[in-house]
Point group: C2
Chain length 199, copies 2
Amino acid sequence: MPRRTRGETARTRTTIVDRAVSVASTDGLEGLTIGRLAEQVGMSKSGLIRHFGTKEHLQLAALEAATARFTGEVWDPVAEEPGGLVRLRALCASWLSYLRRGVFPGGCFLSAASLEFDDRPGPIRDEVATTMRRWLWLLGRDAELARDAGELPADTDPRQLAFELNAAFMGANWAHRLLRDDAALERAQRSVDRLLTAA
Amino acid sequence: MPRRTRGETARTRTTIVDRAVSVASTDGLEGLTIGRLAEQVGMSKSGLIRHFGTKEHLQLAALEAATARFTGEVWDPVAEEPGGLVRLRALCASWLSYLRRGVFPGGCFLSAASLEFDDRPGPIRDEVATTMRRWLWLLGRDAELARDAGELPADTDPRQLAFELNAAFMGANWAHRLLRDDAALERAQRSVDRLLTAA
DNA sequence: AGTTATAGCGCACGATCGTTCGTGTTGTAA
DNA sequence: TTACAACACGAACGATCGTGCGCTATAACT
């Protein structure tokens, strides 16, 4: 059996984590199993877990990878847009596209992880919460910029708007995954349009 | 050790199911474990599972009990209101109150179950989807009644409105559980108010 | 050429999972 | 009083869980 060259730890690790993200997006982070994962990547259990030490570290690695992918797929494409309403619109479109493209086989990874771990204290919950706070902050910041630029009504509450946009996303993800309702994405788009149209 | 009188099966079953609902609302339906559940209700594993035959049947029983509780806590109090905008407003307020009262220790049971099983085909997924379709239908029906009665703009799309109201609920539950943000309920209320205010 | 660190495997462990089977105790009906 | 059905228990099953230990083969460094 062929041995890999030294320093390829990172490559193997990436292979494992990528697979872990896929599995966790459908079965949940807790549904992740070292044995099944090892089987899927063609490794032994002990050889696999060696890269992480502990299952919780593996879960954290998968979560971080999923967050990075989310950022790359949703935020990066619109980061260079001018701050304010333009970028906010682009960001919302980007999110809906991210869901439509099926970036994760099990829908929005972070939504699922949120509800899975919201009652289980620990580093995973903390990580998810931090990521989502940052996400809400992104939405709220451009909302504030848009309001200050007069692109949105002066009495707009940026945090309220961020909440409502995020709620539209969660509703879309929910309907899309559970009810297999493709129209949910259009509904969310309509909802976003209405929210981002100045009176 | 005392023996129960004949016919008390239903009572024991109820005890088990009630406990199962509590556990599942925080740990998820898949996190339910016969051993831990038996320990919590003071029974043996075999004596407990006897009432259901299979873990999946136990999960279904818990799901049905949770649905019944949801209906009792959210719908029943407003069922007698006049159909249309009045009942729709009352229903939304009832839902938010249901979340605020903490009917389930782990937040909205059905939201959690939705995202947990949206990628696992089987009777549990089917049951959740059916229940949620009915819920959306309830919202959409009163939205339609309200529109036809002139209480909402004539161009209102009842299904779109139902989607947005439900999204507000999901967003509220999410923020309330993950971020421990009590303001989420007020935000959702504001969102509902805006959605249900005729132009 | 010899040493050392790395990456992986095989095996085993204790624990817990869901489930089945046999047994006993109890309340009800014959 | 006897027979029966309901209800619960203890023990055990095979499977799988996460984790640790010891060994081997390789690649890099001296």
